[in-house]
């Protein structure tokens, strides 16, 4: 008899339990080989069984030892519920089952705060699903036909001047622009959000980049991708395709050695620069790339040794919005000869409106976009306490910022982009459309892209192991064995197809409200069945 040791971790303490049917198992070993977390192992089990092997019943009692698959009872190598074992098993002999009695959260702090990737698991409420496109053209203004009519789906990225500031003069009855204006690019209203090389495998990053190239070159969809804070391949920096990329600079400045060195050799300007101040998933927590993922090529791109890379929670030396504008915006603008729009990304916060107002008042007119990232954004690694307990929903924040601009008559001057949970239910076009009607010029999304590549993580605690370097889908890992699981071309195709469907779906929402260009701020197109949401957002309450 074995004695029970109360403090020992058992599989019932873990968030997922493996349901294994030894009778169906062919002992091929595929499941064990596929489990990147080493959460299952092969073990010999002593079994006492009764068998009958004759044509007539002839039960014989046997004691045998045979190999079985067993779950590892460990707080390190625990099952994340990714389901790779189930996916690969030829006989449906194994699968993970969610364990409602898990004690894992309680037991896992022996080495400090719990770290994980993914999105918030506590704040997954969906304001956008309580909003309906309720203003449908019926009689006086005919709806458009989403297939027959043409639509002008473009959003500004760059600092837009107020009409009175436009440097026009009239020559022979025509307006002539006599001075330079800040650079503005008209891009697709969906921006691929910043996921760095490092957080993503090079293959996953390449798949997203490939989709961007294809959408621009072949589909006439001017979609832009933010590099994330991890630099970019030098070949890409020196190629024509750089024009599709928004280079990000964050507090760790990772990758900027290479970027600066590549600047004299750039054939074209990048689409923009995005200064990341904060991230919606973990505001105030800074970036985090654990040493497990800092492989040799990541060290090379970022110019760092193998170590856990923590970006500071804020840009060191910036103490105010004004200072941020003067130092970072000006220097980034100057670096590219004031030809490239420079935008800023902040985590949504109770203070977002103040920040936006300050940016709007900036006398240099050099802030080319305000990206607000909500609590439902994803991350490759963060302290769980930050993920679940800090942040701010983005929907009302976009609305608040837009209305603040309306108050000062400056709507549209600094384009608003909202992100963090866009496409959380898979329907990014509906989310984007509603955000645009509330005042966003566009949206940005990241998590949905890796989900299209194959990521199985969700807000109910499935997988969320992006930080470990053991991503079972080869997306958030640098492990050469795991990254091969990802088919770059198929992944890129999946993203391209999704964006093409997104584009059609956006038209399906623009057509019934009778608009051929984006209804930015057209809040009258929306209604809500939730009184509080309607009240907060200033849209019609319906029931």
């Amino acid at each position: 008899m074995q004695q029970i040791r109360t403090q020992e971790v058992g599989v019932n303490d873990l968030p997922w339990k493996i349901e294994y049917h030894a009778d169906r198992c062919t002992m091929c070993g595929s499941c064990v080989a596929s489990c990147s977390f080493k959460a299952i192992k092969v073990e010999m089990a002593a079994q006492s069984i009764t068998v009958s092997e004759d044509s007539q019943p002839n039960p014989i009692h046997r004691h045998i030892a045979r190999p079985i698959i067993k779950q590892v009872a460990s707080l390190k190598n625990f099952c994340r519920g990714c389901g790779m074992c189930e996916k690969i098993c030829p006989n449906n002999a194994i699968k993970p089952i969610r364990n409602p009695d898990s004690r894992k959260t309680l037991l896992s702090r022996d080495n400090g705060p719990i770290k994980r990737g993914g999105r918030t698991n506590l704040n997954a409420q969906r304001t956008l699903d309580n909003i309906i496109v309720g203003r449908i053209s019926q009689m006086t203004d005919p709806s458009l036909d989403s297939v027959r009519h043409t639509f002008d789906i473009r959003s500004p990225f760059g600092r837009v001047l107020s009409p009175k500031e436009l440097p026009f003069e009239i020559v022979d009855g025509k307006l002539i622009q006599k001075n330079k204006t800040p650079p503005v690019r008209w891009i697709y209203p969906l921006v691929f959000s910043d996921m760095s090389i490092g957080a993503l495998s090079t293959r996953a990053w390449e798949a997203v980049a490939l989709a961007v190239g294809y959408l621009n070159e072949k589909c006439n969809i001017p979609i832009r991708m933010s590099s994330g804070e991890g630099g970019m391949p030098v070949k890409l920096l020196q190629s024509d395709f750089l024009k599709y990329f928004i280079i990000q600079i964050a507090s760790g400045h990772f990758g900027w050695n290479r970027i600066i060195k590549a600047m004299p050799f750039m054939k074209t300007d990048p689409a923009g620069i995005l200064i990341k101040i904060g991230q919606g998933a973990k505001p105030g927590d800074g970036g985090l790339l654990q040493s497990e993922k800092v492989a040799e090529h990541i060290q090379a791109i970022r110019g760092v040794p193998k170590a856990t890379l923590s970006s500071p929670p804020n840009h060191q030396g910036l103490y105010s919005i004004e200072e941020s504008v003067q130092k970072m915006h000006l220097s980034m603008n100057a670096a590219f000869g004031f030809r490239v729009p420079v935008a800023i990304k902040c985590a949504a916060s109770s203070t977002s409106v103040s920040v936006y107002n300050n940016l709007l008042r900036d006398p240099y007119k050099i802030c080319g976009g305000f990206f607000i990232d909500g609590i439902q954004g994803g991350t490759g690694a963060a302290n769980e306490i930050s993920l679940d307990h800090t942040g701010h929903p983005v929907v009302s924040k976009i609305r608040d910022c837009y209305l603040a601009a309306v108050k000062s008559g400056s709507q549209g001057q600094i384009p608003l982009y909202g992100g963090g949970g866009i496409g959380m239910t898979g329907n990014a076009a509906a989310d984007a459309f509603k955000m645009i009607c509330l005042g966003a010029n566009g949206v940005f999304c990241g998590k949905i892209l890796i989900q299209l590549l194959g990521c199985v993580g969700n807000e109910q605690g499935r997988c969320n192991a992006c930080n470990t370097g053991n991503c079972p889908t080869g997306i958030c890992t640098q492990n050469p064995r795991l990254v091969k699981r990802l088919d770059i071309d198929k992944g890129a195709q999946k993203i391209v197809d999704y964006v093409l469907a997104f584009d059609s779906e956006l038209r399906k929402l623009m057509a019934p409200i009778g608009n051929s260009s984006l209804p930015v701020g057209r809040s009258d197109a929306l209604v809500s069945t939730d009184y509080n949401i309607a009240d907060k957002l200033g849209i019609q309450y319906v029931c």
Partner: protein, 368 residues
């Protein structure tokens, strides 16, 4: 849906002509009201063409409030016409007790003002009077501008004309320019201010269709100019934009079209003036209309213009001869008042053009 029309003539015409233009089109609208703006006045108002003319409908108390205000602000009355209504039984009209059309002399200190200050004085005075009467519910002030008369009322247009004796062609009211329509704007509440044409500092505008970017337009316009008020009708936004582009920004008229119905980005990219067009589209994105609309406008210099939305979901036709040019939603109205014109010269403006009728009745088509 509204039908709209306007007439520009070398010889002064009377309001009955405008009614004859509009009434054949009545199947297309609901005959719920009549509104017109007359400019370049003859008849009873030919004496004081350079003095501001106040057009209002009010109660007796309202009339007294306005008289007191004008006295206090040193506007002195010069001449007035108070129509004596033909109160036949069973007329479909929701009449106000008084309709007052009165020329004023400017206050003494306004003589020294430059034209823009004087224009602002007239606007501010109208807005103050409007506020005064709106707060007390005693009436409506439609325009206060030299050589401009506005009449609006709720009811059947033919009955309204009978009430004001417009069928009599008695020569009291006549003008070389009339913009008219025969419907109260019923998309929102029935308010007299909601009936177009609207007037602002020399600009008159009438529009039909639905302004689908009304909320965007309104939210932006509220911060652009203190004269952009009311918004009882989404069509007021078209007037505010015309005023803003042409009067405040002082851009040539063709750019009005570029503001309300900008070219698609792909077309802009092919143009020599792409810098200007892109900058306009960027900075005035919130003045785009993007709806099914036709616009008829009259500028301070007397030019009349029309254009449509860029999807061309609202029709309009322009017919003309050497003495008269007419813009109308439907050709049946045109046939009624200009049966002998050369109809092969009629213009059905497309979604990318502006048709302008100058003071010599030269009709120009401008491609956007």
């Amino acid at each position: 849906m509204c039908r709209i029309g306007s007439i520009k003539s070398k010889k002064p015409i009377q309001p009955s002509v405008a009614l004859k233009l509009m009434l054949p089109q009545q199947e297309g609208h609901d005959n719920s009201g009549f509104a017109m703006v007359m400019q370049d006045l003859y008849g009873i108002f030919s004496t004081y063409k350079d003095k501001p003319l106040l057009s209002m409908a009010c109660t007796q108390h309202g009339a007294q409030m306005v008289a007191d205000y004008m006295y206090k602000h040193k506007f002195t009355p010069l001449a007035e016409w108070i129509p004596i209504p033909n109160k036949q039984p069973n007329l479909d009209i929701k009449a106000m007790p008084y309709y007052i059309f009165r020329n004023y002399n400017y206050p003494e200190d306004a003589e020294k003002m430059d034209s823009s200050h004087r224009e602002n004085l007239l606007l501010d005075t109208r807005l103050e009077l409007r506020k005064l009467l709106e707060e007390s519910g005693e009436g409506f002030v439609y325009s206060f501008w030299p050589d401009v008369l506005t009449l609006k009322e709720i009811g059947d247009p033919a009955d309204i004309a009978t009430y004001f004796r417009l069928w009599d062609d008695n020569g009291i009211l006549s003008a070389k320019s009339i913009v008219a329509q025969c419907r109260q704007n019923t998309n929102y509440e029935i308010v007299r201010y909601a009936a177009h044409p609207f007037f602002l500092q020399g600009y008159t505008l009438c529009a039909n269709g639905e302004n689908t970017f009304y909320t965007k337009n309104k939210e932006f316009q509220k911060s652009l100019h203190h004269g952009y008020v009311g918004f009882e009708s989404d069509s007021q936004c078209f007037l505010n934009t015309l005023h803003y582009v042409h009067h405040i920004l002082k851009w040539p008229l063709p750019y009005y079209k570029h503001v309300i119905t900008p070219l698609p980005f792909e077309e802009i990219a092919q143009r020599d003036d792409k810098d200007v067009l892109t900058a306009i589209r960027q900075s005035l994105a919130h003045l785009e209309i993007n709806g099914p609309n036709t616009v008829i406008g009259v500028l301070p210099d007397g030019q009349m213009m029309t254009c449509c939305d860029s999807k061309k979901l609202r029709p309009v036709v322009v017919g003309y001869d050497e003495n008269m040019a007419v813009i109308s939603s439907e050709v049946c109205g045109l046939n009624e008042i200009m049966p002998d014109r050369d109809s092969t010269k009629d213009i059905y403006p497309n979604e990318r053009e502006v048709v302008v009728i100058d003071n010599n009745l030269q009709v120009q088509r401008w491609k956007q």
